[in-house]
Amino acid sequence: MERDLNFASKKISARLILLAITLLSAVAGFSSITAPANAADPVTKIFGVVTGSTEQPLAGVGISIVGPDGFSAEVKTDLLGAWEVLVPTKGTYSATINEGDLPDGQALTDPTKGTAKANVFMPGVELRILFPIGPGVQQSSLLERSAQLTVDGLILGLIIALAALGLNLIFGTTGLTNFAHGEILTLGGLLTYYLSAIVKLPVLVAAPIAVVLSAFISGFLQDKYLWKPLRKRGTGLIAMLVVSIGFAIFLRYFFLFLFGGDTRQLPQYAGQAGLDLGLVNITPKSILTTVIGIGFIIFATLWLLRTRMGKASRAVADNPALASASGIDVQKVIQAVWILGAALAGYAGVVVTINQGVSFLMGQDMLLLIFAAVTLGGLGTANGALVGSLIIGLFVQLSTLFIPTELKYVGALIILILILIVRPQGILGQKDRIG
């Protein structure tokens, strides 16, 4: 796996690694090296970069800052969209963007985010403020917003479903609650990025290769060299769960080590314009990836229902000992399930990468939603995963009609907990599965 991934060479990513460190120190917090407070001449500043909907810098946008002790300052962004203000003391500063300076077609994606606060908690810190700017939103009607969010929700649900199917199949056949499943998405995304941005293959070629490589690396190799030996050793399910956590942490920081900490877009189709379909606006790449995703799910369902191997996998899920006694090669079935699951999850990573860009945290961000979907639908049931995913996807997006966007995942997780109170086995789960 290491050799296949050794792509983001340090030369390219020196700048990105710096970013990674900024990010990492926020995550880690335990580093024994203290913050820049010790520097000889501490510069305390608030800064940011104003970029438009396709990440293009916006110059000449006015930003005004007010702070404690009557501090106030006005700046304009430079040609790269960057601005910075040196501030004198600790305290809470608030920065307001002058919306009138934004070029036509660019506006705040959330009109309430025009003012942002920065808490300067000690001298010497450098705080970054970002304003969310996107294509100008005309005041759309509730109907239009609902329709758009429903489409977004279905697409998110599909991405979750692709990953959740594999997670659930693996859980069903081996009992493994795989906390490293999100990293299969990340690997799929990183492979797509590598093949398309560095090897310069067209995305339409890079994506299928990434899926095949995901199936091989994350499915075949991972099962063969990690989980199969553990099953043979008789490692317990809880122990395997903890192993998967360790593996996830290892992979996540390995990806960070290779790739750096920022979110990167594929060079191709990055700023594709959306098609206006009456009530909703949707990009062609999003339509294509979704249709292929639905195809994948239909394929997986047919595989489960119609093929010998698929039927065998359901038998193994139901009762491995009995399945083995009736002549089913349990290890082979598990191998097939891993390969299929990894291909589906790898494709989910490809979809996210093409539509939203790729970062090393991509899998971790999705993992809880995947778990929520699987638990909601019923752990270990294949069609439950589909239903749960669509519900979570729709709920996450539609809830933003009523709650702040930043809390949309919280809403999904609260729903998960509420459902478990009422129906612990999940929507399609069987009662005896919860023990």
Binding site: K10, A14, I17, L18, A20, L24, S25, V27, A28, G29, F30, S31, S32, A116, K117, A118, N119, F121, M122, L127, T177, L230, R233, T235, G236, L237, I238, A239, L241, V242, V243, I245, G246, F247, A248, I249, F250, L251, Y253, L256, F257, L368, F371, A372, L379, P404, E406, L407, Y409, V410, L413, L416, I417, L418, L420, I421, P424, R433, I434, G435
Partner: protein, 331 residues
């Protein structure tokens, strides 16, 4: 390479604030996981509740720090009840997923702009909320020796922290060796058998969740006091996982395991990091292999790898008893 500096840094971490925080978090997990078999993956949530409960009342509402400690304990009990009521009847892996989700909910709410005014948003809260505590410090000049070094505030946190750890460990020792503790272990081994003896398993599990959670939130107190700030992203899932690593390293279901585990964990982490850092600085490790800014990432990779290998080859940890540890029991 400056070996004395490496040793000083390493030992100061081995006995330092971080070891105390992780020891407390892991003692709580030992109650949950080691003795009762509850797979709580939301320990970071308890620490976050503890930390925010000391910072928020003092900074945002001007309440006394000592009252804030009581608020923190009260809040962690409420959080344990909220977590326990829906999940304690479910199988272990369901509890794991729900607790991890609940801890994420806590973190995301803490860092949201919506509650910026009270909770400080993603930058967290900082201020002089711990003044009452540091005013009692008799060791203001700190400690500087060739092998150990703490500044005045850290020394005070370290001394009071370890005393707290000792008291809590003693109470744990009494509890787990009482008849009550034996019921807990019996639940871990076979819930149905305990139920057949007429015990209310659900109530016992709830007690375990509350006690372990309160101990975790005390770890959160130490975290907030030592930094004199609270930052939401410090309380992510990684904190929980590393607390598990500490517990498993020492040996689950052993009273002293969290303490030893935390010390060894921080000894290894800081030692490896310092050696790598010095190696990179002295050009002993080539730059194309590890940049100076990548040492932190290597550290996390090793932590993940360590947790895997530990679980595969020595799940009972250093002091644990394989028979005592029902890790291999049904999920």
């Amino acid at each position: 390479m400056d070996f004395l500096f490496i040793i000083q840094q390493t030992l100061s971490s081995t006995f330092g604030v971080n070891a105390i925080i992780f020891a407390l978090a892991a003692i709580g997990l030992n109650m949950h996981f080691g003795y009762t078999g509850l797979l709580n993956f939301g320990q970071a949530g308890f620490l976050a509740i503890g930390a925010y409960s000391v910072a928020v009342p003092v900074i945002s509402f001007g309440i006394s720090l000592w009252v804030a400690f009581l608020i923190g304990i009260f809040n962690s009990i409420i959080f344990a009840l909220l977590l326990g009521i829906p999940t304690l009847r479910l199988r272990a892996d369901y509890l794991a997923i729900v607790t991890i989700a609940a801890a994420e909910i806590v973190r995301q709410i803490a860092r949201s702009v919506t509650f910026n005014d009270v909770l400080g948003g993603s930058g967290g809260l900082s201020g002089n909320f711990a003044n009452d505590f540091f005013a009692l410090n008799p060791f203001k000049e700190g400690l500087t020796t060739p092998i150990l070094r703490f500044n005045g505030n850290d020394l005070w946190v370290v001394i009071t922290g370890w005393i707290l750890v000792a008291i809590i460990t003693f109470i744990m020792w009494i509890m787990v060796n009482s008849p009550w503790g034996r019921v807990m272990r019996a639940i871990r081994e076979d819930e149905d058998a305990v139920r057949s003896l007429g015990k209310n398993v659900y109530l016992y599990k709830m007690q375990s969740l509350i006690i372990g959670g309160v101990i975790g939130s005390i770890g959160g107190f130490v975290y907030a006091l030592s930094r004199q700030s609270v930052q939401p992203d410090n309380y992510g899932t990684a904190l929980t996982f590393f607390a598990y690593t500490v517990l498993i390293l020492g040996g689950a279901a052993r009273v002293f395991a969290p303490i030893v585990g935390a010390m060894i964990f921080w000894f290894l982490i800081v030692f490896i990091e310092q050696v790598l850092r010095e190696g990179v600085n002295a050009n002993l490790i080539p730059d194309w292999l590890i940049g100076v800014n990548q040492v932190g990432q290597i550290r996390f990779m090793l932590m993940g790898l360590g947790l895997m290998l530990l679980m595969i080859f020595r799940p009972q940890g250093i002091f644990g008893d394989k028979k005592e540890l029902a890790l291999d029991a049904k999920a």
